[in-house]
Structures are given as C-alpha cells and as structure tokens.
C-alpha cells in the first residue's frame, strides 16, 4: 500500500485533501497516526514561535556566563569605593535595611544603591542608579548582584542608569556592572534585614 506523502497529509489537515486521500486515510491507521503527528508538530511550532528571547535577555545570560562560567578571567576597569552611607556604624555592619542608601564612586561613575521596603517574605528590592561625571544619557548594560553561593540577581540598566533587583535576600554580595566590555566591581555590598534594626 502506498501511504500518503507529507504534502497530502498537510492538505488533509488544512481541509484541502482529495477524496482519494480522504478514503485512504479512513482505511490506513499509519497515515492517521502520521496526520496526528504533523498536527502536533505544527501546534508545537506555533507554541514555540510565540516565545522568544530578546537581546536584553541574551545580554543578561552573557553576563551570567562571564560572572560564573569558565573562560578567561576579566579584570574590572573600576573598583567602586564607598563614599557615603545613610547607615551609621555600628549599624552599618548589619547591612543596608529598608530605605537606606549607599553611594560609591568608581572612576568617572557614581553608583547609588537604595534598599526598598521589605515584603512579606524576608527579601527586599535593591534599586540602583549609575551616573557619569559627564551627565551621560547613554548608560546601559547589566548589573549583577552575586552572593558567595546561590542565585545571581541580574537587572538591565536603562539609559538613565537605573536598575531594580527584586527579592534580594539579606547577605553579602559582590556587585558588578557590565557595560560593553567594561566592568565596575563593588565589593562587600551588605544587604540587611528590617528585623535586625
């Protein structure tokens, strides 16, 4: 028996099959199975074509790989220095809590980190802003908050230098800003908990 070819099966799926093809399908379980397979394939392709990965997502994943992956170590161009914190010692040792701000400088850039309100879970959001001496409106890249162990948090930095990292657990982090091929590192970003204040 000659089975139906793929184009004939697609015609049947589209309701354009010949009467001979319809008759064969009624008699042939293999061809019916092949028809179901092709229906499934096109449904799956439709489903996947609805999803996409945009360039900003790919950039974040690239940064993740640079942070944690194998490959040559990249050295930062700037290491940020803390110049001001709204948290006075000794409270500073517990880390920034909700509403508190830390300001850093790194080369021609300043970085402000502010901790948002704690939610119902013991996590906070960390809101940042990077500004350049030149009042550059073309900031961008990705900011990563990396704990010694556990999940790296990544955020796009918009053209105004702003970024937002939700659901950050209390702890010690290294902050890294990747902008093109340039890197700024902020060591010892301490995020505290409102419960400790």
């Amino acid at each position: 028996m000659n089975h139906l070819t793929e184009p004939h099966i697609i015609d049947l799926i589209e309701g354009e099959g010949s009467s001979e093809a319809e008759a064969h399908l009624a008699e042939c379980s293999e061809c019916r199975s092949e028809k179901r397979l092709w229906i499934g394939r096109f449904e799956a392709l439709r489903e996947m074509s609805r999803e996409s990965v945009d360039e900003s997502e790919l950039h974040r994943l690239k940064v993740l790989y640079r942070q944690l992956g194998p490959g040559e170590e990249r050295f930062p161009r700037w290491t940020a220095r803390l110049v001001r914190s709204s948290t006075a010692a000794p409270a500073a040792a517990r880390g920034l809590a909700s509403g508190e701000i830390a300001e850093y400088t790194a080369g021609p850039y300043t970085l402000m980190l502010r901790v948002g309100a704690q939610g119902s879970r013991p996590t906070v959001s960390v809101i940042g802003q990077i500004a350049s001496e030149k009042q550059d409106r073309n900031i961008g890249g990705t900011f990563a908050l990396t704990p010694p162990n556990g999940r790296v948090r990544l955020s796009d930095v918009d053209q105004f230098g702003e970024f937002n990292l939700p659901e950050v657990a209390p702890g010690s982090y290294r902050g890294t800003w990747w902008f093109g091929d340039q890197i700024m590192v902020v060591h010892d970003v301490e995020i505290g908990s409102d419960d400790e204040s």
């Binding site: 070819t5 793929e6 184009p7 697609i10 394939r41 096109f42 799956a44 392709l45 439709r46 489903e47 996947m48 074509s49 609805r50 999803e51 996409s52 990965v53 997502e57 790919l58 974040r60 994943l61 690239k62 993740l64 790989y65 640079r66 944690l68 992956g69 194998p70 490959g71 040559e72 879970r121 999940r151 790296v152 990544l154």
Partner: protein, 192 residues
C-alpha cells in the same frame, strides 16, 4: 570572521559540540544555546502555569542552574530535554514562591499527565525547531505565514509579497513541507 574562528552561531552545530564549547569558555556557544533553547524553556514555563514575566525569570534561573551543572550533563545530546526538565522544576519553584495557592488547584500543571512525556516532548520540539531553522528562508517564511501564524495569511497575500503567482504557492508549500519532513528524519537519525 577569520578562517580559523569557529562560528558557533551556525544552527547546524550539534548540541554536543555546543556543550563542549560552553565548558571550554566559548561565550558565543553559550549565547547560541539560549537563542536555540530559550524559547523552549519559556514554553515549558508557560505550560507549567507561569505568566510571561515569570517565564523570563525562569529562563534566568534555568541558565544559572545549567551553568552550575553543565559539567555534570552526562549525555550532551540530551541538552534540550535536560533544559526542559530544569525549566519544569524551576517553574514549579517559582509558582510555589509567588502563588502557592495555584499549586492546589485541580487543573494545575502539576497534575498534568503530559508532564511524564515532557522530556520526550522537549527532544521532539528541539529537533523540530532545528529542522525548521535549516529550511531555506523562503520556506520558513511561507510555512510561518501559511501554517504557524494565527490566523494564517492568504495565498494571495503571500503570493503578492513573495512576488509569485497564487497558483504556485500550493506546490511550493508542498515542497517545503516535504523538505521539513526529510530534515526531521535526518536529524532523528543523527541524534540517535
């Protein structure tokens, strides 16, 4: 691109070669993995019950787990189903963290019997996606417009845009589907 520089963006690269390259520090191979399987990961997340924003977060979580455990992937040919499995787990974790009540619903994705076939499905999808990507561009456009778009475009619209006669669209579509079928078979054989 120089003669000696490998183009990891070529869709013909097999998954096992991509995994090897990622393990050696080739950043472009890593990006190719996510261009290729990022939509699959998001598709799994959505099927598990995540919304579009959560699916983006799942993608990032899956990438982190994949990076941390890539050396432990015993069969790199199974990259697609491995990533789909991680995506399924991370999606459920996310829903558990953000909307725990959703997991108690009777029709939740957790109880979906299709989950048992998710890994197999992921491999089929990956092969299908690669086969589609290896079609010539005109075939990809035609099949997308006539069969994947909802609602599909008419033969007249496609013929006009492709500078073809409307009567030629049907036979061209046939050739493209036949070619897709052959590519699927070829990839199935080379994957096994």
């Amino acid at each position: 691109m120089s003669r000696h520089q490998h183009d990891w963006t070529a869709d013909r690269e097999k998954d096992q070669e991509l995994v090897k390259a990622c393990r050696k520090g080739h950043e472009e191979a890593w990006v190719t993995v996510w261009r290729r399987y990022g939509p699959l990961v998001k598709s799994v997340a959505r099927r598990t019950g995540c919304d579009s924003e959560e699916a983006r977060d799942v993608l990032q979580r899956v990438a982190l787990v994949a990076l941390q455990k890539l050396d432990g992937l015993r069969d790199p040919k199974k990259l697609a189903s491995w990533l789909a499995g991680i995506a399924r787990y991370q999606s459920l974790e996310m829903i558990r963290e953000r909307r725990p009540a959703a997991l108690l619903q009777e029709d939740s994705a957790v109880s979906d019997p299709r989950y048992d076939d998710e890994m197999v499905r992921a491999e089929d999808l990956a092969r299908l996606r690669r086969a589609f990507a290896q079609l010539e561009e005109r075939c990809q456009r035609l099949l997308h417009r006539l069969m994947l778009k909802q609602p599909p475009d008419s033969y007249q619209d496609v013929a006009r845009d492709e500078n073809l006669s409307a009567t030629s669209i049907g036979p061209i579509r046939h050739r493209c589907v036949k070619r897709l079928g052959k590519l699927i078979v070829k990839l199935s054989r080379s994957d096994s």
